[in-house]
């Protein structure tokens, strides 16, 4: 089996089942109580803490760490969930190195921040392991809110609205809830089916009815929702993907990275998943890194990320870049795809070197070719299937800072809405804030 990563084409079983299980273990294993205690002791309990300001959901980080220090991780979890009901997933997937941990004063002092993400996981795991749900619903308001999309923004909004006493119906076109928590992100960040477990835990609040298979254009219209409900929250994500616009991009062996990641996340046995021998990923964001690293972990021999700009412009954080290189992924900068070659299936990609002129990418004319029996396109997702009549901004649904769209009684949040980074934690914040605004609007 040792040489099977050298087998040509797209094949399953490049590594033994055990190797694959080991490869896809937790990226940051859970702290035990001692590790949590040592890590928590490093927090200085800063005034108006920079970490809290950097958190899109404004979790009171010094407070929850102090609660861990004093032996009450469940209280710590409550502090986290008050602000961020998906605090468990955010603890696993947040790019903390560019958020809370980047601004930790111990990063300033010692180049080693308090490990806030792992502490958050310790606290949230502790509470979730106890079973039950820490919040209860307020008395029914008799108001009904429709949510479209059961991703982080939709779930966050649903939980908050249900907690405030509203009846919530979530329409999710896919067969499972969770959105990118379930179908995106790398498997080693959400092990043991955490995304699904978190959704079940969240639903314990009650008052949320999820209808799978329902989506805009799939049986639903915005007008009908507006007629049937007191308010509508759209959290439909970015369903479209950008095309390379390079000859040969539709050859066999070429696919969208998000599709590959979704397939991987849903696979019950990763050793049955096929991957190329020579994998090239086009893009520079988190999706590119997730696709590349997981290809390598499945046993691809050569994996290259080809990004059209320089390293500093890469959307993936330096931590993610280092993770990729540590797994054996090669990062190439200032190259863009020209064509995908191959008789029938892809076998080579032709790249052109680029230079950045006035902020724009332009080809230098010099090209190179890389063996590529599998190509993943990770050059961004786009809004698709949004209802007519909503004003857009930068190709997203235009919203104000509490998620109101241009249409009365319709709010939006998450990746489909303007403003904020496309992160799970940002989506949670937007869902929560829209829910609060919907609540004021309905009760006002």
């Amino acid at each position: 089996m040792a040489s099977s990563h050298q087998a040509s084409g797209i094949q399953a079983g490049r590594l033994s089942s055990q190797d694959i299980v080991d490869n896809f273990g937790d990226l940051h294993p859970a702290y035990d109580a001692h590790e949590a205690s040592v890590a928590a002791d490093r927090c200085y309990f800063c005034y108006d803490a920079p970490c809290m300001t950097a958190c899109p959901t404004s979790i009171d980080i010094p407070q929850f760490i102090r609660e861990i220090q004093t032996g009450t991780p469940e209280a710590a979890a409550r502090t986290i969930f008050d602000q961020n009901i998906l605090g468990g997933m955010c603890a696993r997937v947040c790019p903390t190195e560019t958020l809370c941990e980047e601004v930790c004063v111990r990063e300033t002092a010692e180049g080693k921040p308090v490990e806030i993400g792992r502490l958050q996981r310790y606290a949230t795991d502790a509470l979730m392991a106890k079973g039950g749900h820490p919040f209860t619903r307020a008395a029914s308001t008799g108001k009904r809110v429709a949510i479209v999309g059961a991703g982080p923004a939709g779930l966050s909004a649903a939980h908050r609205l249900a907690m405030l006493g509203h009846d919530v119906v979530v329409h999710e076109v896919k067969g499972k809830s969770g959105g990118l928590n379930e179908f995106g992100i790398a498997a080693y960040k959400s092990t043991n089916d955490f995304a699904a477990r978190e959704v079940s835990w969240l639903m314990q609040i009650g008052g949320i009815n999820v209808k799978h298979g329902d989506g805009l254009g799939a049986g639903l219209t915005l007008d009908a929702l507006k007629a049937d409900f007191d308010a509508v929250f759209l959290s439909i994500g970015l369903a479209g993907v950008n095309a390379l616009r390079a000859p040969g991009e539709n050859k066999d062996g070429s696919r969208d990275a998000v599709e590959f990641i979704a397939e991987l996340r849903q696979a019950t046995d990763l050793s049955t998943l096929a991957v190329g021998r020579n994998v090239v990923v086009i893009g520079g964001g988190m999706t590119a890194v997730d696709a590349a690293v997981q290809s390598k972990l499945l046993g691809a021999e050569n994996v290259t990320i080809a990004y059209r700009r320089g390293q500093d412009a890469m959307g993936a954080s330096r931590f993610e870049q280092d993770l990729a290189t540590s797994k054996g992924v090669k990062l190439m900068f200032n190259v863009m795809p020209v064509a995908l070659h191959g008789e029938g299936a892809a076998s080579e990609i032709e790249l052109e070197y680029t230079s950045i002129v006035d902020g724009k990418v332009s080809g230098t004319g010099e090209t190179l070719r890389l063996a590529a029996d599998q190509l993943f396109k990770a050059i961004g997702q786009t809004l698709e299937g949004q209802p007519e009549g909503l004003v857009l901004e930068a190709r997203k649904i235009k919203v104000n800072d509490t998620g109101r769209t241009s249409v009365a009684a319709v709010w939006a949040g998450g990746d489909c809405a303007s403003g904020g980074e496309d992160l799970t934690v940002t989506a949670v914040a937007e869902g929560r804030d829209a829910a609060m605004d919907i609540h004021s609007s309905l009760m006002g």
């Binding site: 040592v38 002791d41 200085y44 002092a109």
Partner: protein
């Protein structure tokens, strides 16, 4: 290279670091390991009268409090004096002293407050060849209820009386170990001196309940379902011990009485501080019990380096140097003005100085939108709280406002001269300045 050799009451030891009378010095085995590790001397764990030895509890004897990263800051114990037969201890002391003639061995004693009891034991101790005795008048638990330990140490008349007996029946130095569980440490120290003591050692442990087990609602350490107060020691007690050492060192009645300092000595700096306050040497227990005997190596190397840097050739060179600078509050110079200064290069912007000053003190630190913290000289009273809470050493310092400069807080020019409370106009009993 500084000479750490210490001569305390004529007893020579290669360094001023002695192990205090406590579990680390209960047996020959431990004491030999201590001497091999480099300790200058030991005070052998307290011996009692001949006969059946005391018994210890069979449950936990220690409780602790911790700082960050579970660093032990304070230790409390309910152990009694040695629970091994007197004869065994005496034989071991004799053997060890013979093998380590260059190290100090002091024998700690606690027998009933009767002359005969002391008359009986002292010749036996003398026969061991040990260098001196230390009278345990401090143990706050277990023995006090039997009329010994701190029950004696809390009554100056008893201290004097027993000390006199010891001087009568024993030819070598007598050190009286004092309990801190009193109101004024000078009283027992004076009594010891009046009784003829060659030295005092202090402090013994402090009465304490170190924590409460909230599940069974009993103090720790818990024996079954009950606990009792124990003796507190370790780094947390050092400030209390230093004050008491200084009080004795600067009391005209006891000034010059040799002091063996005990209480939270954990590193060379602690030892240097105690010695500067008048101690002739130091005794260590908790640091050794926390980290093992090896800690003495850092104490030796650190003290040597510091003495070399300061040009002190021997311990005697700096012994008591800080004593004249310990004064009463009323004599502090009220014309001395300082302001806090935050070094922006070192500041990590945690804002703890701001929270402390804004919430609990003088609103003398400004915070900008981008988290730059600066001192408001017109509000700063130089209280030092910001320095105390800053996690970065020396990031915030107190800088004197020189005489002739304006104090922006008072709007007055800082005076050159010395002026204290005794002559201050706000003091109802002020004596007019001449």
């Amino acid at each position: 290279m500084a000479d750490l050799t210490t001569e305390f009451l004529g007893i020579k030891s290669p360094n001023p670091f002695w192990l205090a009378s406590a579990p680390p010095t209960d047996k020959e085995y431990n004491v030999r390991r201590a001497f091999e590790a480099g300790w200058g001397g030991v005070v052998w764990k307290t011996l009692g009268s001949e006969g059946p030895p005391v018994v210890n509890v069979n449950g936990p004897r220690y409780g602790a409090i911790f700082g960050a990263d579970r660093r032990l800051l304070g230790l409390n114990n309910i152990e009694l004096i040695t629970d091994r037969p007197l004869e065994v201890n005496l034989e071991e002391i004799t053997r060890v002293k013979k093998d380590y003639p260059d190290r100090a061995i002091i024998v700690s004693l606690m027998v009933p407050c009767e002359e005969q009891a002391w008359k009986d034991i002292l010749p036996k101790v003398e026969a061991t060849g040990a260098d001196g005795i230390e009278l345990n008048f401090g143990c706050p638990h277990g023995m006090a209820e039997r009329g010994m330990g701190s029950a004696v140490g809390q009554v100056p008349e008893y201290i004097q009386m027993v000390t006199e007996w010891c001087k009568k029946y024993y030819s070598k130095p007598v050190i009286v170990k004092l309990t801190p569980n009193i109101t004024d440490i000078r009283q027992p120290a004076r009594a010891a001196k009046n009784g003829g003591a060659d030295a005092v050692s202090l402090i013994n442990t402090i009465n304490s309940i170190v924590s409460v087990d909230l599940d069974i609602m009993a103090p720790n350490p818990t024996i079954g379902d009950k606990g009792t107060h124990g003796g507190y020691c370790g780094p947390a007690v050092k400030p209390i011990a230093m004050n008491m050492v200084a009080e004795i060192a600067r009391d005209p009645q006891t000034h010059g009485l040799p002091i063996s300092a005990i209480g939270g000595v954990t590193n060379w700096r602690d030892a240097a501080e105690f010695i500067s306050l008048g101690a002739g040497n130091v005794q260590v227990c908790t640091a050794a019990m926390t980290y093992g005997f090896k800690v003495v190596e850092e104490m030796i190397s650190g003290l040597s380096q510091w003495m070399d840097e300061k040009g002190h050739a021997s311990i005697a060179d700096f012994m008591g140097q800080a004593v004249p600078n310990v004064t009463d509050w009323q004599y502090l110079n009220l014309n001395y003005v300082a302001k806090a200064v935050i070094n922006q290069e070192d500041c990590i912007s945690c804002g703890r100085c701001f929270a402390a000053c804004e919430d609990t003190s003088h609103q003398a630190i400004a915070m900008s939108e981008d988290r730059v913290f600066t001192v408001k000289d017109d509000e700063c009273v130089a209280c030092n709280l910001c320095v105390s809470v800053c996690p970065v050493e020396n990031c915030i310092t107190m800088e004197q406002v020189a005489p002739g400069q304006l104090d922006e807080r008072t709007g007055e020019v800082v005076s050159e001269g010395y002026a204290n409370w005794t002559t201050h106009p706000n003091n109802p009993s002020a004596t007019a300045a001449e």
